[in-house]
Structures are given as structure tokens and as C-alpha cells.
Amino acid sequence: MTPELKGFLLLAVLKMLVVFTVVLVGVAMLTLMERKVSAWMQNRRGPNRVGWAGLLQPAADGVKNIVKEETFPAEANTVLFILAPAMMFIPALCLAAVIPWAAPLPVNFDWNLPLIGYVSHHGPMSMAVADLPIGFLFVLAVSSLSVYGIAIAGWSSNSKYSLLGGLRSSAQMISYEVAMGMSLVPVLLLTGNSTFTEVIRAQQQGIWFSASLTLSFFVFLVAGLAETNRLPFDLPEAESELIAGYHTEYSAMKFSLFMIGEYANMITVSAMLATLFFGGWDLPGRWDEGGTGLATLLTGVAMFLKTFFFLFFFMWIRWSLPRFRYDQLMALGWKFLIPLALTYILVVCVAVWGIENVAGITSPKVRGLILFGLNVVACYVVFFILDRGRLLSGSYRRQAPAGVRG
């Protein structure tokens, strides 16, 4: 192995360790944050007994979950029952690897380390563990794998509630993945590439995609909520209907793994939202391509704040909105989000073609601003004219049987 390859591998291992640790600690802190936010929204204080302001509560919960008794339901399929939490947990953790968390950091070293030998690295280091060429397609692909975990957990528990939860979850995730994938096509149209780095660069050159592709952002946000099984789409869990859905029969650390998986998915979706639609680590007004440690630090903080905002937003939605009924959920996915995303692809295609070929504008900034103007109109049409009980109706009329006048 060349010293360059060794240096690359060394840095990759270090980045893996850091991202893995940060995501797991972040998940632990998110469980606390969820309880705190829910408490504040209900005029309560939330956990504040363990550690200062309850900061050690996640540790206490972790210890409790590890020492609790593991229960296995009778007649459960033990192998799959044990496997299911891992199948939910591992894809969720993999996803954090492809997000660029900050501007590239220049790393230069030539060391002779014991056991490893000569290692060297020169030039900017991407702050993603793996800057994959397939970019967000990887996220779409791997995040769908967690549906296996949920469906298998539901089936192997041999409990009707779990099974219903697992089935609901599969149906829901498959429906919303379509809308989610389609909402990313306009991003691809403007970027021309699916890597996160290129998406960020396109937003640095133009304007943030949340302004130029607002409806895509909206569809992705709603589909992301559904993908993470958060309220108002938590039908797989639906405690008032299914006790706890697919993890009804789970206890102790196996149950915890589902929770960790859910929160890790939340982190990923939030980071994706920040990266794809809010410029990623891009700071407004900073156009230099990283280059210094300070730039990496500042952009890292910017990325953290953006992700944190969306994490808060998810909790905010969870503690504000009631759960959808199942037919409403399906109607929203199939009858509203997918047609909307499809129409929007068409609109953006025509607009981009018109801007480039008819108006002859090539500046990404001007193009972004024109698209922003278009989006203001589109949002008004969707949210104020069409959304009057037409797009998402609370309930549907009974269909008259054929041949009978309704």
C-alpha cells in the first residue's frame, strides 16, 4: 500500500469513528430533547432530575434498558425476532456516512507511524466519511432497507398488533418513497449530479434550493416525516390503535435499538433537508471553498444549526399535529404528493428549458431567482387555492353503488 492510500484509510477510519460517535451521542441527546420539547410545549419542565437539567437522563435510560430483562414472546420466530432490530439499526447508522458535515479541511501530514508505516495525506479532506458518486441515491436506497427491519419485527413477534404495525409501515414507506424520490428529481435537474458535494456547490453558485425548489422541499419534508415514522405519520406505532405497533413485543435493549434507529433516521433526514435545500454547510455570504480550519469549523457549526433546526421542527410537528387516519395517509401520499411532485418536475423542466434556451440566461443566480418567483406563484396555487378541502379532504363521501343514484 502506498503511503497516500494508508493516509486516506487512516483518515477514513478516524472520520468513521467520529461520525459514528457523534450520531450515537446525538441520538441519546435527541431522546432527551424530544422529552424536553414535548414538556415545554405542554407547559411542563421535562426530565431534570438526573444530572444538570436532566442531561444524564439518556445515560440513565441506557443503563436501565441494558439491565432490563429480555423477553421473548412464545411462538415468536426467535432468529428473525433478534435480527429485526439490527436490520432497522444498521441502515440508519450507515446513512450518516455520506452527508458532508462541513467544508473540506486541508490536511497535510507525512508521518512514520509504528505498525502502519509511512502515511501521508495532502490536500483537502472531504468532511463526509464517503463522498459517494451516487450521493443521495444511496440515502434513498439504504433508508428503504429499514422497512425490512420493521416488517420483520412485526411478523416475527407473532402478535396481531405487531403484524399490523409492520404491514402499515411497509405500505407507508413504499408509498412515500415514490414521492420522496420524485421530489429529488428537480434537485437533480438544477444540479446535474447527485453527489452531495455538487448539490452544495450548485446552491453556493445559485441560491438555496429551498427558495428555488420550494415545493420539492415541501414534498421531501412531508415524505421525510413519513419515512421516519414520525407523527403525523406514525401509523406503524399508533399507540392508541396498535399499542406500540411493530415493537410491541420488544423489551430492553432490542427495543432501544428501534428507538436509536428512528432517531438516527431523523438525523439523516434532517441533514438531507439541510444539505439538499438549505445549502448544506454553506454559510450565506461565504464563498471561499473551505481552505482553512476556521472555515471548516464555521461551516460545521452552520450545518449543525441547520440540522438541529429540522430536528426541532420534527419534534415541533410531532407535538402539534394529530395522527392521520390510514386512508388519509394513503390519500395524501398517492393522490396529493405524487401528482404534485410529478407536476412539479414538469414545471421545473419547462422553466429551466425556457430560462436557458428561450431567455438565454445562464447565470445560476438569476435562474434561481426566476425559479423563486415561479415558486411563490406555485405555492400560492397549491396552499391557498387548491388546499381548500380539495387536496386533502378530511373524509370522503360514500360512493354510491353502481346504478343507484347517490
Binding site: 420539547v37 414538556a39 415545554w40 410545549m41 405542554q42 407547559n43 411542563r44 419542565r45 415541533w316 410537528i317 407535538w319 402539534s320 399535529l321 386512508d327 396552499f383 388546499d387 381548500r388 378541502g389 387536496l391 386533502l392 379532504s393 378530511g394 373524509s395 370522503y396 363521501r397 360514500r398 360512493q399
Partner: protein, 172 residues
């Protein structure tokens, strides 16, 4: 579609999901900055009167208390009405009589585990001796500590319940 639901004709502004959702979210966000209502229990405690932020209702029926006269003896005359009326049969009373013919309880024990805190003993007592108290912190390390004897009942100091008066339901 699965369920035939009667659809009401409602004005547009009431049926818009997006606007209703935003309204709800604005409300929850506002609540984040409102004063918290949680009592921090071991540090803050409720008081029997209205002086603190939290108070126990004066007619709260908690663990018992035996009132004493000026000489420090219990007011109980061992008439036997309270074990008679007690629906849970938790009062054990063995009456005694001194040289002047005054009755007093030799043994007076209340099993607080059996007690249902109905307050009949306080209502029936002709001497206003036994009372249910405005008190709720009763933790003990062993079960037998929950049989309160006469000495313990007399040495309690918490305030006593005013019970519920049907003629004055709000206690005014």
C-alpha cells in the same frame, strides 16, 4: 373511502389542512415560553393552606390524627363508635376505665393499609378526638409501621381535614 363518512359543508377556511396545521404549530410554539406548571416536588411542597403556590384541599382525607386535651391525654373516651362505623374494619379499640369512671382507650390502633380514608370515624366521633389529616407523605421502610398506635396518632401534628359539608360544598 373505506368508511362512508357524512361530509359536512364547511367554509373553506375551516377545511384547509395547511393553515390549520400552521395555526396549531404557532400555538404549541407559544406554549414553549409560557410559565411551567410542574411542581418540583421534593423541593416545593404543597401546603395545607393557600399560602404557597400549591395547596392541598382542606377537606383532603389523609392519615389519621388523634387530638389531645390540655393535659396531653387523648380526647378519646373509647365509646366504640369509630370501630363500629368503620367500613374497612381497620380500627382496633380496647376500652379501659380509670378509678373515677372515665373511659379511655387501652389500645387504639389504626391499620392505615386497610383504611379507605372515608372519614366516617371523624364524622361519628362525639368528642372530636379522631380525625383524618391533611397529609399524604406516608412512606415507611416496613409494612408493620403502617399500624399506627395511640401514641403515634396523638403525636401527629399535621392539620386535620374539615371534611366535606354537603350544605357548603365549596367550603366557603
Amino acid at each position: 373511502m373505506a368508511i362512508g363518512v357524512k361530509v359536512m359543508k364547511r367554509p373553506d377556511r375551516e377545511t384547509s389542512y395547511v393553515r390549520a396545521a400552521l395555526k396549531g404549530m404557532a400555538l404549541t410554539f407559544k406554549h414553549m415560553f409560557q410559565p411551567k406548571v410542574t411542581m418540583q416536588y421534593p423541593e416545593e411542597r404543597s401546603t395545607a393552606d393557600d399560602r404557597g403556590s400549591y395547596s392541598v384541599a382542606p377537606r383532603w382525607r389523609g392519615t389519621h390524627r388523634m387530638l389531645a386535651d390540655e393535659q396531653g391525654r387523648s380526647k378519646c373516651v373509647a365509646c366504640g363508635l369509630c370501630p363500629q362505623i368503620c367500613p374497612a374494619n381497620c380500627i382496633k379499640l380496647v376500652p379501659g376505665e380509670d378509678e373515677e369512671g372515665n373511659r379511655y382507650p387501652l389500645i387504639y390502633e389504626i391499620d392505615e393499609f386497610r383504611c379507605v380514608f372515608c372519614g366516617y370515624c371523624q364524622e361519628v366521633c362525639p368528642e372530636e378526638a379522631i380525625h383524618v389529616g391533611v397529609h399524604f407523605e406516608n412512606a415507611e421502610y416496613s409494612r408493620d409501621r403502617f399500624v399506627y398506635d395511640l401514641e403515634r396518632l396523638t403525636s401527629q401534628t399535621h392539620s386535620v381535614s374539615t371534611l366535606w359539608d354537603p350544605a357548603d360544598p365549596r367550603g366557603q
